[in-house]
Symmetry: C2
Subunit: 342 residues, 2 copies
């Protein structure tokens, strides 16, 4: 049976997707109110009968409630593109607001990109990833590794794969927001590096005009040369162009220093009040800020023939569970040693 996916059904599927377990009609009705949808529990149950038939939800029986099926997730991802227009821009703002990392205490959640690679490619991948972190073209000096079959936040890692979580540069927005500085993310672009320094953007995609993350696109389209930039100082890396209030520049510079000390460096440049940065103008009263793309280390893998699957802004994640990238180097050392021993 085919049903016309309407906004009530989308809200119901979304409630089920975000729930930690199965939900009954009453709890779904309560949850979708926060999305601006008012339906009685009875109306919700009517819709749930439809979504059961369409294969989007499954009734576990015995009043245990409903769960969303893989088909339901697929439907949710592709339904109603208009509510997805600017989704990248909206997701950035939503996650900046939701994360609660404290730069003073180094506790709380950060925003994590999730990448998966075939397990057998992992040692080779690390050898491309680490130089990118070294040169400061990755976001901070932290990452997390998880094996297939386990979870990374609410993401289930397929068997046979290894997941690498990298800090998403949206984390910077969240930290600024907690400090009272609103950040407007304007576009993601390919930033040309010459002699180790950023010189200009060669291509851009605006966050509010795209349902796809720009850096994911650049990686898939094999347009980056991050590894070359890390090795030789010349290449194209992913970066993000953002705007902050000009009055906040001194505070932004202080936060930037603190971020670097903490191993969370990622701000490449901060502009002057109302002045263009790398030839990109900003409005009066604003200042430009250029932030490194969190997925750059994974781009380096893709450039060297290692297939990656990348999900920018994949999940909120506890900062305490991240490892310094220096620990990954030891991991790489061990892997190489065991290869020699075999």
């Amino acid at each position: 049976m085919e049903i016309k996916t309407d906004k009530n059904i989308i809200a119901i599927l979304r409630a089920l997707r975000e729930a930690p377990g199965p939900l009954g009609g009453t709890r779904v009705a309560r949850q979708i109110q926060s999305y601006g949808i008012n339906l009685s529990p009875r109306a919700v149950r009517y819709y749930l009968a439809l979504t059961d038939k369409a294969g989007f939800t499954k009734n576990l029986g015995n009043k245990r409630g409903r769960i969303i099926t893989p088909d339901g997730r697929k439907e949710l991802n592709s339904a109603f593109v208009m509510s997805k227009i600017g989704l990248i821009a909206s997701m950035i703002d939503e996650l900046s607001y939701k994360m609660d990392f404290s730069l003073a205490k180094l506790t709380g959640n950060i925003v994590l990109n999730i990448s998966t690679i075939q397990a057998e490619n992992f040692p080779k991948a690390l050898a491309y990833i680490l130089p990118v972190f070294h040169k400061g073209f990755g976001m901070g000096q932290f990452a997390v590794i998880r094996e297939g079959g386990s979870q990374l936040g609410n993401f289930s890692i397929p068997h046979g794969s290894i997941a690498i979580g990298t800090l998403c540069s949206v984390t910077i927005n969240g930290i600024f927001l907690k400090a009272g500085i609103p950040v407007f993310s304007r576009f993601g672009g390919l930033l040309e590096i010459k002699n180790g320094q950023p010189v200009r953007f060669t291509d851009i995609i605006a966050y509010n005009g795209s349902t796809l993350d720009p850096l994911e696109i650049f990686i898939k389209g094999q347009m980056t040369s991050v590894y070359q930039a890390a090795r030789l100082g010349c290449g194209l890396i992913g970066a993000s162009f953002r705007e902050i209030p000009a009055a906040a520049i001194p505070q932004a510079e202080r936060i930037r220093k603190k971020l670097i000390k903490t191993g969370l460096g990622g701000i490449l440049m901060i502009g002057r009040p109302g002045q263009a940065l790398l030839d990109i103008p900003v409005p009066e009263g604003k200042a430009a800020m250029i932030v490194v793309g969190g997925l750059n280390p994974l781009a380096a893998c893709e450039e060297n023939g290692i297939k990656t699957h990348n999900l920018a802004m994949g999940t909120l994640f506890d900062f305490k569970e991240l490892l310094p990238t220096s620990h990954l180097e030891q991991l790489l050392g061990k892997e190489q040693q065991s290869e020699r021993e075999n």
Copy 2:
């Protein structure tokens, strides 16, 4: 020697790129006036000395003037991304204005996409391309084939490659404009086809927020399933969402019929005044129009493992030099026959 690429140099390089042959300082000075740059011939010659040194231009000597070098073209492509922001939107408008095809007389220039594939893959590629045209998921029923070493408009085809020129859907904008109907191209997207009919957009990229053509991105990112849509009636094809004045709907419908008769069909849907089309709302006084992506036939190749290199809106091209796709079928027939004979 490295020079800071400024807007005067960009204008000079652009003038040389657009010229049919070498230009002297005086003619360059005259040409760049149309880009809003006023420089004396003497100032132009000063800049040309710099660009010669930088390797962007070459002085042919004996007062024959300058030509642009491959490095100069590269510089032009990547320089000043801000003047490229919205370039896709601007290019669409510029080419719609420049083309002079007459639907009544079937003469004049149309806008052509240029795609190249390895020569040895050509027969296989044709077998994927033709079904897409058959099902109406390509733009019109015309194409042009050229061998490596020759020219397609102002594009030089590399040796060992074969170029396929397909009608760019911007041609529709040009035809409408000649009929007095302004077309606003809003975004390129992935259009889901079910049972042969368009049902919704699953991803979009706005033309005025991107320096890259959306359909080129979708093809490179292997996000399309055009061949499946042509074969089984279900899949994701490239399409463009545009807006016309609501008052022009009756005239637009008449043009649409004429286009189909002429073998130039490509308009998939025209909406109603001020009403959403496939759930995408339009402003009051406007009507939506969904047009098929001209590069869809090439997407079908890429989906089946044949590497393609695609340049949307590659050149203006004389309509008379295009072949009906039925001629390509004969070509395919011959190729297959000669394969059997070998």
